[in-house]
């Protein structure tokens, strides 16, 4: 565990030391936190590309992966989403919006007692399928639901 890292981060935030390190290239921002930001997956412009980016080659739909979303979004700028996995040993969850310019919205790895579930708010530019992917024991499971968007959320 990283109490030390956290202490460093906190004191650095106050003193600006860390910013100096980042500027000097000694410490890239993403390295402060654990895993790398998955550029290939987040930059992918379509669903297959994003799924490939996260390593989910073969997936299977699962009713044990619950995706709660409105049928119609009140406002595409803020679409509430809950994902809950009851698949044993779920270690990670991804949320993707098929028709967004970059479909991958977020990924979460769970450890140390965190239940494999998350709630978040998404931007949706248009009516689209929203997909949740869960990883358990090395296998990928999916659930999806269409959300109708009448007021788009990407144009500001």
């Amino acid at each position: 565990m990283n109490t030390t890292r956290r202490t460093v981060l906190k004191s650095a935030t106050a003193s600006g030391v860390l910013a100096g390190l980042i500027a000097a290239g000694a410490l890239r921002p993403t390295q402060v936190l654990a895993a790398e930001w998955n550029k290939a997956a987040f930059d992918a412009h379509d669903m297959p590309g994003a799924l490939k980016g996260i390593g989910a080659g073969a997936t299977a739909d699962s009713k044990d992966l619950i995706l709660r979303l409105p049928d119609i979004a009140e406002n595409g700028a803020v679409v509430p989403v809950d994902v809950v996995s009851t698949i044993p040993n779920t270690s990670s969850i991804w949320i993707l919006v098929e028709k967004n310019p970059s479909p991958l919205s977020a990924s979460f790895d769970f450890a140390n007692g965190a239940l494999p579930e998350v709630s978040a708010r998404l931007k949706m530019g248009q009516t689209s399928m929203v997909k949740a992917v869960a990883k358990a024991d090395g296998k990928f499971y999916t659930a999806q639901k269409e959300v109708k968007v009448t007021v788009g959320g990407c144009g500001g």
Binding site: R6, T13, P29, A106, S107, A120, K123
Partner: protein, 103 residues
């Protein structure tokens, strides 16, 4: 400097419901300002949640998470008084760490 987060962690049974509000523009890089100029992307990329000194969530985020993001998590085995620490870093290297406690 980034504005503080708001962290709430409520114990229900032995599960702590952690909710985090983050102040961040989450610019997609596609929006145009009033003058018609494209606003460059500016968004949180990574976040971690620690409860009781252990990292429980390691998250990564793209541009399609809403402005001023809201996240909710559940952590089993937490106790009242456990410290909750949330950190984020964005694509420009701006960052923020805030603390709360399980209530």
């Amino acid at each position: 400097m980034a504005d503080p987060m708001k962290i709430r962690a409520q114990l229900k049974g032995d599960v702590a419901e952690v909710r985090v509000l983050m102040a961040h523009p989450m610019e997609t890089g596609q929006r145009k300002d009033a003058a018609g100029n494209t606003v460059p992307p500016h968004f949180i990329q990574s976040m971690t949640v620690d409860v009781g000194g252990k990292k429980v969530v390691d998250g990564h985020v793209g541009t399609s998470v809403s402005r001023n993001p809201v996240f909710g998590f559940k952590v089993k085995g937490a106790k009242v008084g456990d410290k909750v620490v949330v950190s984020w870093v964005d694509n420009k290297g701006d960052k923020r760490t805030d603390e709360g406690a399980v209530a």
